[in-house]
């Protein structure tokens, strides 16, 4: 098992995954990212979705790269910090997942 899979499993198990997800969602909402992306989707749909043939997949492929770049660095950094803290806390326990993975 790879380390990342172990981390995935661990965070899912402890419920941290869901907390991290919530944190990310709220950060993105707070910083206006959500609205920016929303607006972006709107404009794209207004441009191209006129004849009703524009699918959600197309929208996703178009929006994803732009949306990714819009995520503020501060948010990324904070999430990283958060994940790191969670994992280091876990490290202190006798069975460190990464070692045995």
């Amino acid at each position: 098992m790879t380390v990342s899979a172990a981390v995935d499993q661990y965070t899912v198990l402890t419920g941290d995954r869901s907390k991290i997800k919530d944190l990310l969602c709220s950060r993105l909402t707070e910083c206006g990212w959500r609205d920016e992306v929303r607006l972006m989707c709107r404009t794209i749909l207004l441009e191209k979705g006129a004849n009703n043939s524009f699918t959600v997949e197309q929208l996703i492929t178009e929006v994803t790269p732009k949306a990714r770049t819009l995520v503020p660095d501060a948010v990324k950094k904070e999430l990283l910090m958060k994940i790191r803290t969670i994992l280091t806390e876990n490290e202190e326990e006798p069975d460190e997942p990464e070692d045995e993975a």
């Binding site: 995935d8 198990l13 959600v56 958060k82 069975d95 997942p97």
Partner: protein, 751 residues
């Protein structure tokens, strides 16, 4: 942990309306600490106060009417949508029962192929040993199912007879596998190491080893029906916890007419909501520990094995796949239509190539989200606001909407001078323009339990906010507020001019007391009606740190002052903490440092936090050397409130003379408080503050007049002189004398 980290100054006041009110309990890692589940971020672009129906969009001017406003999720989240869940829950429980029966009959002949395809090996405790959601082996696709796929075998028990042998074999395999690994259930680290048996092949390998043959019967297979029962049970528990909340939210189903697509409808007709409900409860929002274990073990892409962020679960059979090719190829090849996106719990229809929205499913999903939040002791995640019928009707009845543009005057109102009440007027102006406070009141979060709301100052302030934002331009009379203050702060009663600072502190005090009172009344009420929830919240409030309750005043205004007294003999430090609402700064000449008079606010603060020699006359008993010693005393700021108010002590009352110090004190628009913190180095966070209100006093110590400058919008300052409101420039503000200075934190933090 920050709130609004990226909300830089340029957006600061623009976005102030969507500020979070109150601290979010988003505490991490303190699992054993009782946490009240408070609503998560109120995303309040449009805020609808239903009485006056003011909707304010400050963030942008686009799409004002139908933009998602935040749910008015004040109070506890239990209050939300309780009724619909209650009724829906009961109804569906019944329906589900019947359906289950039917299905059991229908599928009685479907052999159960619980070959433990993806047996997990976490623990061999009795409750959740080697459980797969009743996965049936693909190998033995039977004539009756005919699709050659695994199915979520809802009526699995009935098929047990037919598949007795296979079940037993699988169970044995799983149990053996389980025995090979660690037995402690709690240790998460160990759990990770527990090997996963994903395929039949690896399962067989394990079995081959046969290290520890365990009675096959010990391995209990959890089936979809069991899971469903768990989910239903939890949902009913949740519902019973919600007793005593108001019944306004009944109509979410009536308002929402979303029924998914026709594919989903036919899917539901065939399979009912049970599968969706269980998959959502176990893999999208894990409702309990068991569900999290299952998710951790089984929920990865069947193609690439990744635990990717966007996994889809096929609702027709057991299949997880990454977004994109993995899931779509499965759906295409198996001709399955409906899949569930697991990170947000959205339904996807392959036939429509689109996400679909179904009201009933959403209700179930909401229950699951609540269960998850409850189980993890976290706040419920952000949810889009769906107005209830009551809210919709109120909005329809009050069709007038307000849009706040940069140059609009909404929120500004002159205040009549009721005879030397300018001290009150300017404080009220400052309070009304406090972003966090206006957030609190505009979202109608004060809930006065008592019937005597006319006696409650918080209710009065709440009403004032309505008046300020009503759009009326005529000046307002504050006689009710004044009367309330007179009643509750006797020393301010009377017709003479009072000190604005004193009034400010008294107002905060009364507001604080009334908040506490309203809360306790609320709690006693909920205690008498419902049993569980009340005790929980009271214990959480008592666990709160010393000197601070959770009321809005304390959340916004209360900081913690640290004073260190250092013994000169032994260097022993005794530290005390005191809560503060404002910082009073001396302006007179310093006695110790060569008679320097402070010229700026920063000077004053430096002086305030400087170590002060207490002198030989004031010896203090040192706790370490147990003797009276000379010592130094130093103040520092342990925690900062969201709003720091500075009181410049311009009125000097000494034995000899009472005088007003009118010297000019320069104060900045924005500054960083980090240097004055107790732990400068370790302080994590952003301690930048912005000026938003200045109260000035003109005149002498005996007679004079108070005016206030308030920041109306970003870069828009107004001068409030009783009933006259005029535009002001920043320069005017900064050149003013300054008596009370109000600073607002730029970046809010989570608790």
């Amino acid at each position: 942990m920050r709130h609004k980290r990226a909300c830089c100054d340029s957006q600061y006041f623009q976005m102030r309306q969507c500020w979070l009110t109150g601290r979010l309990s988003n505490r991490w890692g303190v699992a054993n600490q009782p946490v009240t589940v408070t609503p998560a971020v109120r995303h309040q672009y449009i805020r609808v106060r239903l009485v006056a129906c003011v909707s304010v969009c400050v963030q942008c001017e686009i799409e004002t009417r139908n933009r998602e406003a935040s749910k008015k999720n004040h109070r506890n989240f239990e209050n939300f949508a309780d009724c619909s869940i209650k009724t829906a829950g009961r109804r569906t429980a019944k329906v589900a029962k019947i359906r289950r029966k039917q299905r059991n009959c229908d599928k009685a002949f479907v052999p159960l192929q619980a070959s433990a395809k993806r047996a997990k090996t976490k623990e061999n405790s009795v409750d959740s040993n080697s459980s797969v959601l009743s996965s049936s082996g693909a190998s033995s696709s039977s004539q009756s199912s005919g699709r050659g796929t695994e199915r979520w075998a809802v009526g699995a028990e009935t098929g047990r007879g037919a598949a007795e042998n296979e079940t037993a074999a699988a169970a044995a395999a799983a149990a053996a596998a389980a025995a090979t690994t660690a037995t402690t259930a709690v240790n998460a680290g160990r759990f990770i190491t527990a090997d996963l048996i994903k395929t039949v092949k690896s399962n067989k390998e394990r079995k081959g080893r046969g290290e520890n043959p365990i009675d096959a019967n010990a391995a209990k297979h959890l089936r979809l029906s069991d899971c469903l029962r768990t989910v239903q049970k939890l949902a009913i528990e949740l519902e019973s916890d919600d007793v005593g909340s108001d019944a306004s939210a009944n109509a979410s189903s009536a308002v929402m007419s979303e029924t998914g697509c026709r594919h989903y409808q036919s899917y539901v007709k065939e399979h009912s909501y049970d599968t969706f409900r269980v998959i959502d409860a176990y893999f999208a929002a894990c409702v309990n520990r068991d569900a999290r274990e299952r998710k951790a073990i089984h929920c990865n892409c069947f193609e690439c094995g990744s635990y990717g962020i966007q996994l889809y679960a096929c609702l027709h059979c057991i299949y997880f796949g990454c977004r994109g090719a993995h899931i779509t190829s499965h759906l295409r090849s198996k001709k399955h239509n409906v899949a569930l996106e697991l990170s947000h719990g959205t339904l996807y229809c392959y036939a429509c190539r689109d996400f679909i929205y179904d009201a009933r499913s959403r209700e179930y999903a909401l229950i699951n989200r609540k269960l998850e939040a409850k189980d993890l002791q976290k706040s419920i995640g952000w949810l889009p606001w769906i107005p209830t019928a009551k809210e919709t009707n109120l909005m329809l009845a009050n069709a007038r909407r307000r849009l706040v543009r940069p140059n609009q005057t909404i929120g500004l109102r002159g205040l009549l001078n009721l005879g030397a009440t300018c001290f009150m007027n300017c404080i009220v102006q400052a309070l009304v323009h406090t972003p966090l406070l206006s957030d609190y009141f505009m979202s109608d979060r004060h809930d006065c339990g008592s019937k005597s709301s006319h006696k409650c100052l918080v209710c009065e302030v709440s009403r004032l906010f309505q008046e300020f934002y009503s759009g009326s331009r005529s000046p307002l009379s504050l006689h009710r507020l004044l009367h309330l203050i007179w009643n509750h702060a006797k020393h301010l009663a009377g017709y003479e001019q009072q000190d604005a600072h004193e009034f400010f502190i008294a107002t905060l005090d009364v507001l604080h007391r009334h908040c506490v009172k309203a809360k306790s009344e609320h709690e006693s009420k909920s205690n008498s009606s419902g049993s569980g929830s009340g005790t929980n919240s009271s214990s959480s409030s008592s666990s709160h740190c010393y000197g601070q309750c959770n009321c809005i005043i304390d959340q916004i205004f209360t900081g913690m002052l640290q004073s260190d007294v250092v013994c000169q003999a032994c260097n022993g430090v005794s530290t005390t903490y005191d809560p503060f609402w404002d910082i009073s700064l001396d302006l007179g000449e310093t006695t110790t440092h060569g008679g320097v008079t402070p010229k700026t606010l920063i000077d004053c603060l430096e002086r305030y936090t400087r170590a002060e020699h207490l002198g030989s006359a004031a010896k203090i008993k040192c706790s370490t050397c147990k003797s009276y010693q000379e010592s130094t005393k130093q103040f520092s700021l342990r925690t900062l409130p969201s709003v720091v108010s500075f009181h410049l002590k311009r009125f000097e009352h000494s034995a000899l003379i009472d005088r007003k110090i009118s010297s000019f004190i320069q104060f900045p628009v924005e500054f960083d408080m980090t240097p004055f913190m107790s732990e400068k180095k370790n302080a994590y966070g952003d301690f930048r503050f912005s000026l938003y209100a200045v109260v000035n006093h003109v005149g002498t110590i005996d007679t004079g007049h108070y005016t206030a400058y308030v920041r109306h919008q970003k870069d828009t300052w107004v001068k409030c002189d009783d009933h006259v409101i005029t535009m002001a420039s920043l320069k005017q503000v900064l050149d003013s004398e300054g008596y009370l200075l109000f600073y607002h934190k730029n970046v809010l933090e989570y608790e």
